[in-house]
Symmetry: C2
Subunit: 190 residues, 2 copies
DNA sequence: CTAGTTTCTTAATCTAGTTCAAGATATCCC
DNA sequence: GGGATATCTTGAACTAGATTAAGAAACTAG
C-alpha cells in the first residue's frame, strides 16, 4: 500500500494535493539498528514507515532504555514534542529491522497544512486515533499486571515478537528482561 | 476566559464560525460528584470544562477505580474512544468539584468540522498537544518511581491537591492510597 | 451538636517485580 | 568455521509497592 492509498482511507485527495505531498517527502532506507533521530538533538523529521519497523525510546540517567513505542508499516512516528516545538529531543528513534521511511520536515509540513487544509483533517484523525491508543495503554499500565500487558502486546503486535529482541519488549512493557523471561515460562507451563 | 478566547489562542475565527460553534454547545452545571458520562453507555458528548474539575476513570472487575485523567478549566475531556466510534464506554466521567461544562454531540461536531474546516485545524492542534502529554505520562509510568511521579503530578496540577481526595491522586499515579501516604510522610521528613 | 460516613494514616505481612551474577543460546563478523 | 558479542534464561537475595486491618481525622447530614 502506498502512502496515498493509506491516507485516502481517511480523506479524499485531489491529484494536486497528493502530488504536492509526495513532492515534499524524502525517501530513506534504514539498515537494522540505524538511527533516524537522536536524543539531545532537535527532531528534524516526522517519520512515515513504509516497511520494516522502528522504535522510539527514552534513555535515563542510569543509561537504561525505555521503549515508548514501536512503529509498524503505514504508521507515523517520531518525537512529536521535539518536532512540534523544535526543542531538543528526549528520545531516540532507530530501525529494528531494515526499513524504508518517508520523511517530512517541519517547515514543509507547516506549508502543506497551510496550502491544503484537507491535511489538517487527516492529521486530526491520525492524532485522535493515536490518542485513543495512548489512553488505552495508560489504563493498562496503571491497572493491569505485567502478564496481562504482555498478552495484550502479543495481540496488538502479533508479528513483532519474532524479530524484536525480547529486552525491548520488556522495556515497552515497563519490566526487566529477566521478569519477562519468568512470565514467558509461566505461560509455557500452563 | 471564554471558550472562544481559548480557541483563538490556536486559530482565528470569523464571527460566523464562532457563533455557529456557540449555537451547538450545550451548557450544563455539575454538582460535586455528579456523573456526566457512565461506563457501559455510549458517550454522548465531548466535554469542554469551563470551570471546576472533572475526572475520567476506569473501574475494573474488582471494582477498583483507576483515574485516567483529570480535566481542568479550558480542557476538553471525555472518553474519546466511545465518543468517536459510538461504542459502549469503558470509562466514567464525573465532577470533582462544582463545575460548569459545555457539551457537544457527535453529529454536531461532525457537522461543525464539515462546514467550518478551521475547526479541523483547531482539533488537530489540541489532539497533537494532548498526544505529547500522554507520551510523556507513559514514559513516566514505565521509567520513574511512584515518588517521582507524585512530584511531577504536583508540578502539573499545583491546585488540584487541595480539593481532590488523595485516593484519586494515588489512583492517577497507579499506586494505592496507603503507599501515597508513605511517600508523603517520607517527603515531609526530609 | 452528634452520629454516620468517607478519607487519611500507620503498621504488619505479603507479593510482584528488580538486581545481581552466572551460565546457556544465539547472532554476527572476519 | 570460530571467536567475540549480544541475547535469553535461571536462581537467590532484595525492594517497591500491595493488601489487610484498624484507628484517627475530617467531612457530611439530620
Amino acid at each position: 500500500m502506498t502512502i496515498l492509498q493509506a491516507i485516502e482511507k481517511h480523506i479524499t485527495l485531489s491529484k494536486e494535493e497528493g502530488n504536492y505531498l509526495l513532492s515534499i517527502l524524502d525517501a530513506k532506507v534504514l539498515k537494522q539498528g540505524e538511527f533516524i533521530e537522536t536524543a539531545g538533538k532537535i527532531t528534524e523529521h516526522f517519520i512515515y514507515v513504509k516497511s520494516g519497523c522502528l522504535m522510539t525510546y527514552y534513555t535515563n540517567e542510569q543509561a537504561h532504555d525505555h521503549v515508548i513505542q514501536f512503529a509498524m508499516p503505514n504508521w507515523w512516528t517520531g518525537d512529536l514534542n521535539s518536532f512540534t516545538k523544535q526543542v531538543v529531543s528526549a528520545y531516540s528513534t532507530r530501525a529494528l529491522a531494515d526499513s524504508e521511511v518517508l520523511l517530512i520536515q517541519k517547515k514543509d509540513l507547516d506549508t502543506l497544512l497551510d496550502r491544503f487544509p484537507v491535511f489538517e483533517k487527516y492529521f486530526r484523525i491520525i492524532f485522535q486515533n493515536s490518542l485513543i491508543t495512548h489512553q488505552n495503554r495508560i489504563v493498562q499500565n496503571i491497572a493491569a499486571t505485567a502478564e496481562v500487558r504482555y498478552l495484550e502486546f502479543q495481540k496488538k503486535y502479533p508479528s513483532l515478537e519474532q524479530y524484536v529482541p525480547l529486552k525491548y519488549i520488556a522495556s515497552y512493557l515497563g519490566i526487566t528482561p529477566e521478569f519477562l523471561s519468568k512470565i514467558r515460562r509461566r505461560l509455557m507451563e500452563r
